[in-house]
Symmetry: C2
Subunit: 222 residues, 2 copies
């Protein structure tokens, strides 16, 4: 008798493919052709989840905002849960890819860390809705999907931590603080961005990013 649902078992439930990775902001459909239905649904869900939260947003609201009906939503997504999961996935894939590129550059470790620390701030601010949903609504995911997201997130943190440890080994950074704690310190402030950053503020995303990266690097001075 109703073990608190949990969508179906098999597969991710998403029945469509992304042609190529795009920027989240525009879905690659800046022209006059209306965006395809799956993207419209994701965009509507993202906005509504960020505004009202996951639980307080009904599927009906989402499909109305996207200009379709429930039939369309459940044609492309297995459940409301899947929408959330896909929103996470987009942001995670984007940030992971960017970090991979930055971490492998030919440059002193302090430059690579500074670039990575600033980049995650900029991409977070540029996708503030996704970030807000991420840290506010992750616990609404089914246990299984939560595990998956956490695993991806861990990979990301580990990559970041490796940079710090490299600097600590080579003596460029102080090793007074364990590297994983430094990572959590930085990402804490990143996740928190959606609570205080507002576009109207006097600082551009890049300026905020530079400041936060600077704080991190200064904290790590030997």
């Amino acid at each position: 008798m109703a073990t608190r649902a949990g969508s179906e078992g098999r597969g991710s439930g998403v029945r469509w493919d992304i042609p190529g990775m795009m920027s989240l902001q525009d879905d690659g459909w800046g022209g006059d052709t209306p965006a395809p239905v799956p993207q419209r649904l994701l965009a509507a869900a993202t906005r509504l989840f960020a505004e009202q939260g996951y639980d307080r947003t009904s599927v009906q609201e989402i499909v109305e905002a996207a200009g379709v009906t429930k039939g369309a939503l459940y044609h492309y997504f297995g459940s409301k849960d899947d929408l959330l999961h896909e929103i996470y996935g987009r942001l995670l894939r984007l940030q992971q890819k960017r970090l991979d590129v930055l971490a492998e550059r030919e440059a002193p470790v302090e430059e690579r860390l500074r670039a990575a620390a600033a980049d995650v701030v900029v991409t977070t601010i540029e996708n503030l809705d996704d970030a807000m949903i991420f840290f506010r609504s992750m616990h609404h995911l089914s246990a299984e999907k939560q595990k998956q997201v956490r695993a991806e997130r861990r990979r990301y943190h580990e990559r970041f931590r490796a940079l710090i440890e490299e600097g600590q080994r080579t003596g460029v950074f102080s090793d007074a603080t364990p590297a994983d704690l430094v990572v959590d310190y930085h990402f804490g402030s990143v996740h928190h961005l959606s609570s205080w950053y507002s576009a109207d503020g006097r600082l551009t995303p890049q300026q905020v990013a530079d400041h936060l990266a600077d704080l991190l690097l200064r904290a790590l001075r030997p």
Copy 2:
């Protein structure tokens, strides 16, 4: 019709008084006398909100966990909303009071800031459930109560920021980064604690607090 409710209008809706400010952890009822109903309700709500989130916790679950019925809950609280608001209030009042004491001590500003930065970490970890609810569920509050909470939070941040600005004026701290950004940086990591700190970890709350305070102070070195 139905402007999305919003509890009643008048008053805070809470119909009971706290005898004296206690520690949140035990409600001052460690003995064998059962705790009074309002406290039992708050304790049950705190645990359940932290475990399952606000929206996914029914008032039926709360009253069952507290060993009473809905009649009791709505006798003491105006709405489910009020429970959340009261949980915030407890933590905010506690931290504000501690900060006030620390900030007014006779000591160099770097010592006062270090003590304040570490203290908020310790009290956050010691009330991790409340903290998690705070940063995860604040947006579930009615607009009016949200404004009130934000105002109290702002007061707290301003007091903290004043310490940083004092140090920057007197040249003890670097002023490379605007003080309010430094505050958000630090409190970002504090709010984030509930996402990663687990009691089983190898670091005690005090050790974590010392590390995080150290990172802040190191970042502020001139």
